[in-house]
């Protein structure tokens, strides 16, 4: 079984982002970048499946600018066998990413495609479902548990009401929740070894996919700020304030 894992390079989750004054976007110069957190869970799950003997090869793929390759390199350091970097500059929407990934799937013929359930930058939550649609494959989104059988997967999904379990036949797309597993850290020897693993570079334009954005970003602005609150000295004061000032209880 072959697993393709898609990863995205985003502003690190610990960074307090800043909006550019001209409203054109957020500041990314000299800002720490990392792999989108649930994509780390996707890689980890693929590695665990391979360690259990059920998968033979893991391919990590990313779509983005030159530096996006760092996320593939990190995936190689935790256990992916080889990488693919589809180069494209500027904003690329989930629809275009899903079309690019479809081309990669057609080339590589994986049995499973894993990725994070959403990217923490644009918060779109679309790419996995869109890829599943283009391929006419089943989708198991927001996975917190995956059991692999011969020709199918049982996936427990985190939904608003609690947990839902579905069975999907392979090939299938799974989008991963943060609770799926605990991503490992790459050891230094493995980081060194990863430097020797191959990363194939492909230009998005060579894949024949139209990547032109369909959505115009007219303005990016800071959200309204909350006015500063106060500290209360005691529980008694808190309850009085809630009752008599805020009038919410």
């Amino acid at each position: 079984m072959k697993i393709l894992v898609a990863v995205k390079r985003v502003i690190d989750y610990n960074v307090q982002i800043r909006v550019k004054e001209d409203g054109s976007g957020v500041v990314t110069d000299n800002v720490k970048m990392s792999t989108n957190p649930p994509d780390d869970n996707a890689i980890e799950e693929a590695v665990k499946i391979k360690e259990s003997g059920k998968a033979t090869e893991i391919i990590a793929v990313t779509v983005g600018e030159e530096k996006a390759q760092e996320t593939v390199r990190k995936a190689l350091a935790v256990g992916a066998d080889r990488g693919i970097h589809v180069k494209v500059d500027g904003i690329i929407e989930p629809l275009a990413v899903s079309k690019i990934l479809k081309k990669i799937v057609e080339k590589e013929n994986p049995d499973l495609v894993f990725m994070g359930k959403q990217a923490i930058d644009d918060d779109c939550n679309q790419t996995g479902q869109m890829l599943a649609a283009h391929l006419n494959w089943p989708q198991a989104t927001f996975a917190s548990k995956i059991e692999v059988s011969d020709k199918s997967l049982q996936v427990t999904r985190e939904v608003d009401e609690g947990l839902e379990t579905i069975e999907v036949n392979t090939p299938a797309i799974v989008t991963c929740d943060l609770r799926l597993n605990e991503p490992r850290y790459a050891s230094l020897p493995n980081i060194m070894k990863a430097k020797k693993k191959p990363i194939e570079q492909i230009n998005a334009s060579d894949l024949g996919v139209d990547t032109k954005p369909r959505i115009e970003h007219i303005k990016i602005e800071e959200p309204p700020k909350r006015k500063a609150g106060i500290k209360v000295a005691s529980v008694e004061e808190l309850v009085q304030k809630l009752k008599n000032e805020a009038k919410v209880i």
């Binding site: 989750y13 989708q139 927001f142 805020a246």
Partner: protein
């Protein structure tokens, strides 16, 4: 052209967030049709037809739709999508799972999780966990939009009498099978729509200690929330998680207990009308968004809080 809203339901009742999405959809276009895909869901069709903002209910009834499977829903939606300018649903786990599959097959770049309708093609949506707001304009001819339910009022549910039209089912997907759903039944208000939410974090230290939260929730008729850390640690189940990758809540009162306030948590609650933070670390970032901050040990403060609430003659429900 009209707009088509996809209803979420359990074959007996409309799920509440569909009503918020109806309000948003009606701001895009008054000619709002609702698509109900279900099995033996006539009661749901009837209640949707009584929503005054709804002009027509399209009802597909077939046993293959007893459980919600995105693949089957998508096929049904695509069969009827061409007459509509917009396809809309709520941005909860239902709509997040469904809409991108529909959008991709229509070759539409979806606009996710909008918090405001500026015009039929321009919307406001939060990005970076709500740390920036983007005004976006969709240049696709047809649009797929998901709605952040808590940013729109719920539509009125009585007084309307829309026509109900029965329409045909689509083919069933062979590759996805529903196994089961573990729903935790509770008499408490739903987290997404509750007037008061009390949430616990890592500071609670154990699942047993969540009883301190539960006791106050019972007193205030509040829903119970949690930080990701508390869910990850197994103190409480996943459907309670508030935050960027959990639920977004906008109650009148949000009480954060033992939650430090990572930006991912703030993303799910900072639009609440009044925020209270109880934390023993005076430097915790949660205090930066709190209207009332109490720097205290929660194991002392929560029992006192309950005691003070008990002294009050009346509590708003």
């Amino acid at each position: 052209m009209s707009v088509l809203l996809i209803a979420e339901h359990n074959n007996k009742e409309v799920k509440p967030f569909t009503l918020n999405a109806i309000t948003a959809a009606s701001q895009i276009d008054k000619d709002l049709h609702v698509l109900l895909i279900g099995s033996k869901a006539d009661d749901v069709a009837k209640s949707l037809s009584e929503v005054p903002l709804v002009k027509k209910v399209l009802h597909i009834d077939h046993e293959i739709y007893e459980n919600y499977i995105a693949e089957n829903y998508t096929a049904a939606i695509l069969k009827h999508a061409d007459k509509y300018s917009h396809i809309i649903c709520s941005a909860n786990t239902f709509g997040k799972n469904l809409m991108p599959r529909v959008a991709a097959l229509l070759d539409i770049s979806q606009v996710s999780d909008i918090i405001k309708v500026i015009s039929p093609d321009t919307f406001l949506r939060p990005i970076y966990a709500g740390n920036a707001f983007a005004t976006v304009k969709s240049n696709d001819e047809k649009k797929c939009v998901t709605i952040r339910p808590t940013s729109f009022e719920a539509a009125e549910t009585t007084g309307g009498s829309a026509e109900i039209e029965k329409i045909d089912a689509a083919d069933q997907s062979e590759n996805t099978k529903f196994i089961n759903r573990e729903e935790i039944k509770s008499d408490r208000p739903e987290l997404g729509t509750a007037r008061i939410v009390i949430s616990g974090g890592r500071g609670l230290q154990s699942g047993e200690n969540f009883k301190l939260i539960t006791d106050v929730a019972d007193k205030l008729n509040a829903a119970i929330g949690a930080s990701r850390a508390a869910v990850d640690a197994g103190y409480i189940t996943n459907e309670h998680q508030v935050g960027q990758t959990g639920k977004v809540v906008v109650p009148d009162l949000y009480i954060a207990v033992g939650i430090s306030g990572a930006i991912q948590h703030l993303a799910g609650m900072k639009e609440s009308k009044v925020i209270v933070a109880i934390n023993k670390d005076g430097e915790a970032p949660i205090f930066s968004v709190a209207d009332y901050g109490l720097e205290a040990d929660l194991f002392e403060a929560l029992p006192q809080f309950l005691e003070e609430l008990n002294k009050l003659n009346t509590i708003q429900k």
